[in-house]
Symmetry: C2
Subunit: 363 residues, 2 copies
C-alpha cells in the first residue's frame, strides 16, 4: 500500500492507514496535554501523529523545538488542506522557538515542470501572503526557496548516500529521478533546521505527505552519528471531503471542491450542489432527522466554518432532530464561507504589503 504525495489519492480508511504505516492515533491524552488545543485538535480532525509526545514534552518544559511547513507553488490557488496545515502551524508557532516556511521550487520544477522564476512569482504574489493571511506570523517565520538555500540543497544531496532505491520504492512506489530528487529535497527541508543544533521538530501535514515524513525520519536515524538528528514529529489532519461526498477533494474535478480564494457566486453554487445527509423529501427529513455524520456541509462547519464547539453541537442536534433541514445549513454555510473568503481577501492584501520586507534565508 502506497501513499502518493504527488497525486490525489482516495483514502478509504484512516484506521487502515494508521495501522499500515505505523502511525499513532491522536488521543484524549494528547488533547489534555496540549495547552489550548485548536479547533482541528479538539474535533479530532487531527487524527494521528508520529512522536507527538516529544513536542508535548518540549512545550511543557519550555524546551526548544521547531515547526516547519512548505508549499509546492504548482497551483495558483490553495485548498482547505493547506488551511488546516497553516492552522496547526499557527498553533505551534506560539510555542516553537523557530518556525519555517519553505517554497519547494525545486520540487515544482522536477515534478511539475514549473520554472524557478514562475515558482518565485507565484509564491511571492500568492502562496506566502496566503499563508500569512491564514495565520503564519511573518515576524516569527524563516522563509526560504529550496533553490536558494545552499544548506538544504547540500543536505539533500548528502542524504542520498544512505538510502537504497528499494527503500525509496517501498515508501513512494515507482519514482522517477525527478521525484527522487524531490523526495530527498523534502527530507533535506525537514531536517535542515537541525543542522545548526539538533532539536525536536513538528511538521503538520495531510496524510498524503506522510511518505516525506517517513523518509526524513529514517534518514534522521541513519545520519544520527554525523548530525545528531532527532527524528522529527508530525501530526496529520483528515481530508476536507469532496463536495460530492467522496473522502478527498480531487484536483482533477474542480467542481468538487472549493478553493481559496473563490468568488461568492461560485461558493454558493458549489455549496448548494453539495452532498448532504438529507432525506429524499423535506417532510421525511423533518420526521426522521438528517445524518450530519455523512454530510459534507456539516463537515465544512466542523472543520472550517464554525469555531464555537457549542454552536456546532447545536447544529448537530438540530439536524438530527429534523429541526433544521439541508437548505438551512446550505444558507448558513454559504454565508459563512463567503464571509471567510472576504476576510481572507482582506488579510491577503495586508499580507502582500509585508512581502517586500521579508528576508529569505540562503542557508
Amino acid at each position: 500500500m502506497f501513499i502518493d504525495p504527488w497525486g490525489a489519492v482516495l483514502v478509504e480508511d484512516y484506521r487502515k492507514i494508521i495501522e499500515c504505516f505505523g502511525l499513532k492515533p491522536f488521543t484524549d491524552e494528547h488533547l489534555k496535554l496540549l495547552p489550548e488545543p485548536n479547533r482541528l485538535m479538539r474535533r479530532r480532525v487531527v487524527f494521528c501523529h508520529r512522536d507527538l509526545e516529544v513536542i508535548l514534552d518540549a512545550i511543557r518544559n519550555g524546551r526548544p523545538f521547531y515547526a516547519l511547513t512548505g508549499i509546492v507553488p504548482s497551483a495558483e490557488k490553495i485548498h482547505f488542506g493547506n488551511k488546516m496545515v497553516v492552522e496547526n502551524m499557527a498553533y505551534f508557532q506560539r510555542y516553537a522557538d523557530r518556525v519555517y516556511m519553505l517554497v519547494a521550487d525545486i520540487e515544482a520544477a522536477t515534478v511539475r515542470g514549473i520554472s524557478l522564476e514562475e515558482s518565485r512569482r507565484r509564491a511571492l504574489e500568492f502562496h506566502i501572503p496566503a499563508y500569512i493571511a491564514l495565520g503564519l506570523d511573518p515576524r516569527k517565520v524563516t522563509f526560504y526557496f529550496q533553490s536558494e538555500n545552499k544548506s538544504v540543497m547540500r543536505l539533500a544531496h548528502l542524504l542520498s548516500a544512505k538510502v537504497t532505491l528499494s527503500e525509496l520504492r517501498a515508501i513512494y512506489g515507482e519514482l522517477t529521478p525527478g521525484k527522487m530528487v524531490a523526495a530527498l529535497m523534502d527530507a533535506g527541508d525537514i531536517l535542515y533546521p537541525q543542522l545548526e543544533e539538533p532539536t525536536p521538530g513538528i511538521i503538520p501535514v495531510g496524510i498524503d505527505q506522510d511518505p516525506h515524513i517517513r523518509l526524513a525520519r529514517d534518514l534522521a536515524k541513519r545520519f544520527r552519528r554525523e548530525y545528531g538528528f532527532i527524528p522529527p514529529s508530525s501530526i496529520y489532519h483528515r481530508y476536507t471531503p469532496s463536495l460530492d461526498g467522496r473522502l478527498k477533494m480531487s484536483k482533477s474535478e474542480p467542481g468538487s471542491y472549493i478553493e481559496i480564494p473563490e468568488p461568492p457566486e461560485s461558493v454558493r453554487e458549489k455549496i448548494w450542489d453539495a452532498f448532504t445527509g438529507g432525506r429524499p423529501t423535506a417532510r421525511e427529513q423533518r420526521e426522521l432527522g438528517g445524518r450530519p455524520e455523512v454530510c459534507v456541509v456539516f463537515e465544512l462547519f466542523k472543520q472550517h466554518l464554525i469555531e464555537d464547539d457549542r454552536e456546532l453541537d447545536r447544529i448537530y442536534d438540530a439536524c438530527k432532530s429534523g429541526e433544521i433541514i439541508c437548505g438551512d445549513c446550505k444558507t448558513l454555510a454559504t454565508e459563512l464561507m463567503t464571509k471567510f473568503m472576504e476576510e481572507f481577501q482582506e488579510k491577503l492584501e495586508r499580507a502582500r504589503d509585508v512581502i517586500p520586507s521579508l528576508s529569505f534565508t540562503t542557508g
Copy 2:
C-alpha cells in the same frame, strides 16, 4: 556494455569502445588542426573524442570556450591517469577563456562515504596543489567545491526532471540513489560554466569517465530551450597500463601501479618487476630484439617519461634491434621516474604556498 566510472574496469579493446559508445577516433586531421599538440596527442595516447571539432573551431577562430576537470578526493594520492588529464587541461588552458577545477566532495560523500571536511582537507593539502604542480595554472583556473557551489547543486537537482531511471541505467548500469545524485552532480558540474553564457566546453577524461560525458551531453540537449546549452566536447586518453602488463592500472592491486607521489625505492622496485617485451634470455634478446609494442616500460616512456619524439624513436629502434635490453630501459625508466617524482615534490611544495591565496567560487 557498461563503463563503470566508479570502479576499475579492464578495457580490453579501445576499438570496441569507440564503436559501442559512438565515440569518434582522434585522427591525423585533428592533430593537424591542433596548434602545438602535446605529447599525448602526438603519440595518440589521446585516441578518441566527442565533438572535438567544435573546440578546434573555437581555437582557430579565437572564440570563447571552457575547459573543465574535477577530482574525487577519495585517495590520498593520484595516478598517472590524473596526470594525463592535467596535461590535456594544461594544453587547453592556453586557448580557453575559462578553466575550471572542481572538487567532487558531494560525490566523495555519496559514493565513497568520505565526509565533506575530509574531502576539503585532502583537496587543499594534496589534490589541488598536485594538479597545479602538474600544470594547471592557478591564475587561470576557477576552483570550487561541489558542496559550496549553489548553482551547481541547484542545476544538478533541476537536471533530474528530464531523465528517466531507465536512461540512467542504460548509461551507468544499476545505480544507488547516492550514485544517481553523483551522476547528476557531475552533469551539473560539466554544464555549470554555461549557465552564465552558453559556450563550447572541453572535458579531457579517461574513458572510464565517459558515462558522465554522455549524461551531460544528453541533458544539454534536453535543456537547450531553458538554458541554451551546447553539448560539451570531450577527449579521451588511453589507460596507463598496469605494471604487470594488463591494460588498466587497478587500484585494488597496489603493487601493480606507480602512484603520484611515490618514494624512489618503491619506484625502483616496481619498475624492476614490470612486465616488458623482453625475451627469455639476454642472448635471445640481443639476437631477436625486444617487443616495445607490448612493453610496459616502453609505454611509460611513451606516455610519461620521454618528451622528445626522436629520443622515443631511438629507444624503440634500439629495442627492436637488440641494441639495448630490458635492464637498460628499466635503469633509464627508474632514473626518469625518480626525477619526475623529485620535481613533482618540489612543485607540489611551491603549489601549496599558493593555496591560501586561492578563492573558491560559490556559484
